[in-house]
């Protein structure tokens, strides 16, 4: 029994794609999620579940509402309808910080690093809630402060090393190349010890060799930390290769769900991406 058991909600339909996850409760269970901005419906009827060690993809044309879904999952926006169950707990009314503590971390489409801080400090900010040191101990630099800082440094270096960033630990985040910044953002998200990590276009701006390296790293993150990964990406090669399950959205609604193979051959998806064939062509 964990500390949240009181709030447990029974999860009914589980449509997991990964064999290893069969029989386990999903880490994320989204039901009938929707949000309106003014009169405009940005997301509607969004349903999906993600298994505890699953890599899932969210794809769709520009403006389909993908980032909005991420913002809903991380409580940047509060949904108009529906519910989000993270580890079985409804996140309704929680703020972003609380949802992160519960187990969801993310990266951003337009990179949001702490540019004036070193890469190492960026990761240490990510570890904030893992560092056990009271406010008074911080203010007066009591021995517990030095102990916790030493531990934090070690763990942050480990994480940077894991992402292949150990040699840039002391550089300012803002001065790093684009691809490195993206990886550092993943590193910072991992530092908050999440159960699921959301990656918003992790390969954007990367060259093919960087992307290939990233694909390898995404799998390695899942295998090492045993966490779920949910990613938005326009690079179809990456999505089809690393994702076990894929959700396709258009105009804020799910138009297809399935394995990469199923998605590739789905007529609705082809139509959304390439447009409808004209009658005359038929």
């Amino acid at each position: 029994m964990n500390e949240y058991s009181r709030k447990m909600i029974k999860v009914s339909s589980v449509n997991l794609f990964r064999e290893q996850d069969a029989g386990k409760p999903p880490v994320l269970d989204v039901r009938n999620l929707g949000i309106d901005f003014g009169g405009l419906t940005a997301v509607d009827g969004f349903n999906m579940t993600i298994g505890p060690t699953e890599i899932s993809g969210l794809i769709g044309p520009n403006g389909a509402g993908k980032t909005t879904i991420f913002n809903l999952l991380t409580s940047v926006y509060q949904p108009t309808r529906g519910s989000i169950l993270l580890k079985g707990i409804d996140t309704k009314g929680m703020n972003t910080a609380k949802v992160n503590k519960l187990g969801i971390a993310r990266t951003f489409q337009n990179i949001r690093l702490f540019n004036d801080m070193t890469a190492l400090d960026n990761v240490k900010v990510g570890m904030h809630n893992e560092i056990k040191c009271s406010f008074l101990a911080s203010l007066l630099h009591l021995p517990s402060y030095y102990k916790s800082e030493k531990k934090a440094n070690e763990k942050a270096m480990e994480l940077l090393d894991f992402m292949g960033l150990a040699d840039i630990a002391d550089q300012k985040a803002g001065s790093l190349p684009y691809g490195v910044q993206r990886r550092l953002e993943i590193c910072r998200a991992l530092a908050s010890n999440p159960a699921i990590i959301l990656l918003d276009e992790p390969a954007a701006g990367m060259n093919p060799s960087e992307t290939a390296e990233l694909m390898h790293q995404i799998r390695r993150i899942r295998d090492t930390f045993q966490i779920a990964i949910f990613l938005i990406e326009h690079d179809m090669n990456l999505v089809m290769n690393v994702c076990e399950g894929i959700v396709v959205v258009n105009y804020g609604k799910i138009i297809a769900k399935g394995t990469p193979e199923e998605i590739k051959n789905n007529p609705a998806v082809i139509e959304a991406y390439l447009g409808k064939k004209k009658e005359a062509d038929a």
Partner: protein, 358 residues
């Protein structure tokens, strides 16, 4: 030790402590050898108080990126609390230094409590709106101080917010008398205690900056949304910084208040808040040593120019504007660069010609 010195932040921090200590020792020596004029001597303690004000405001403005225009309000809380506490405990604590320390902590704690209460509504706002609300709180506090009546007699403290309400027994006296302010204050503040308070402030602020709390505070300034995304409750952090800053300002206020025999609430008006902000901005945002130096220089500058009489404040204004233009404006900076470049070019040419002529 060498390893410590190689760490950049440790080095900056040690330099800060060192500069402050050297300045204190020099001033103390000059003072004891009679090298300081009486006017200059009179500035020593207020300068200490304002340095603490500037460093604590820098924590808010420079480090956290929150603009506060009501910092003098906290100073006022500290000053008047300290004055009342010092009067109340005068007989209980015979040692002046100890009494001052107790009064300073009382002033700091009171200011911290008010900081917390004000922070609850104010920190829901951001940027210019936060600035306006702090301005409003500063004005409200000043308004309350100038209508606060506190008297002390054998029965204890009596308080009221309108004139004539405080009835004292025989032998009692008014500590705060509304618009007249505090009178008959026992001067407890000393320059060495001012120095100790500066060291304490530096210790707290520098430690805070170099801890996980400080990292979080800087992170909030850089990117609020990203900070929240890694599980940091941004409002709680802004609040911690706000309360610590108010606490230190309160202590500075007590030091300042117990340096004069009488004190009016108007000392803690909007202009006082603005002056501290000027010290912080000119000293460099987030640069703690910068705040210390700019406060010392700028506090004494208008006083040192007293000989110029009417012109001094106008010169101060002009210096302020020019310094801002030279340190911030890209166009002025470019102009300065091109001028220095052409001067250097000319000098080189002259040198070359001189060499050729030989």
């Amino acid at each position: 030790m060498k390893k410590l010195w190689n760490n950049k932040t440790t080095r900056t921090n040690l330099t800060t402590y060192l500069v402050v200590t050297v300045a204190f020792v020099v001033m103390q020596l000059m003072s004891s050898f009679g090298q300081l004029g009486s006017a200059m001597k009179g500035y020593l303690i207020p300068v200490c108080a304002y340095i603490v004000m500037a460093v604590s405001l820098n924590l808010l403005v420079g480090v956290c990126g929150e603009l506060s225009l009501g910092h003098a309000g906290f100073m006022g809380i500290g000053a008047f609390t300290g004055i009342v506490i010092a009067a109340l405990l005068q007989d209980a604590i015979p040692n002046d230094t100890l009494l001052l320390v107790v009064a300073m902590f009382a002033g700091g704690i009171m200011a911290g409590i008010f900081g917390f209460l004000i922070g609850i509504p104010a920190l829901r706002l951001r940027g210019d709106y936060l600035a306006i609300v702090t301005l409003a709180f500063g004005e409200i506090l000043k308004n309350i101080f100038s209508n606060l009546y506190v008297g002390l007699d054998s029965e204890g403290l009596h308080m009221a917010v309108s004139t004539g309400k405080v009835q004292l027994l025989e032998g009692g006296r008014m500590i705060l008398d509304g618009p007249v302010g505090a009178t008959g204050i026992t001067k407890l503040s000393t320059f060495p205690m001012g120095f100790v308070l500066i060291l304490f402030t530096l210790f707290v602020v520098l430690n805070l900056i170099n801890s996980k709390e400080g990292r979080a505070i800087k992170a909030v300034r850089d990117n609020r949304i990203a900070t929240e995304s890694v599980g940091i409750n941004v409002t709680a952090f802004r609040m911690k910084a706000f309360v610590v800053s108010a606490f230190l300002a309160g202590m500075a206020g007590t030091l300042f208040g117990l340096n004069f025999s009488s004190l009016q609430a108007s000392k803690f008006n909007f202009n006082a808040s603005i002056n501290v902000l000027v010290f912080v901005v000119l000293g460099g945002m987030g640069n703690i040593l910068g705040s210390v130096i700019s406060t010392a220089v700028l506090y004494i500058l208008p006083e040192a120019m007293r000989g110029l009489d009417d012109l001094r404040m106008i010169l101060y204004a002009v210096v302020l504007i020019i310094v801002m233009l030279f340190t911030w404006s890209p166009s002025v900076k470019n102009a300065v660069q091109s001028v220095t470049a052409s001067v250097q070019e000319k000098l080189r040419k002259n040198k070359k010609e001189a060499v050729n002529n030989e």
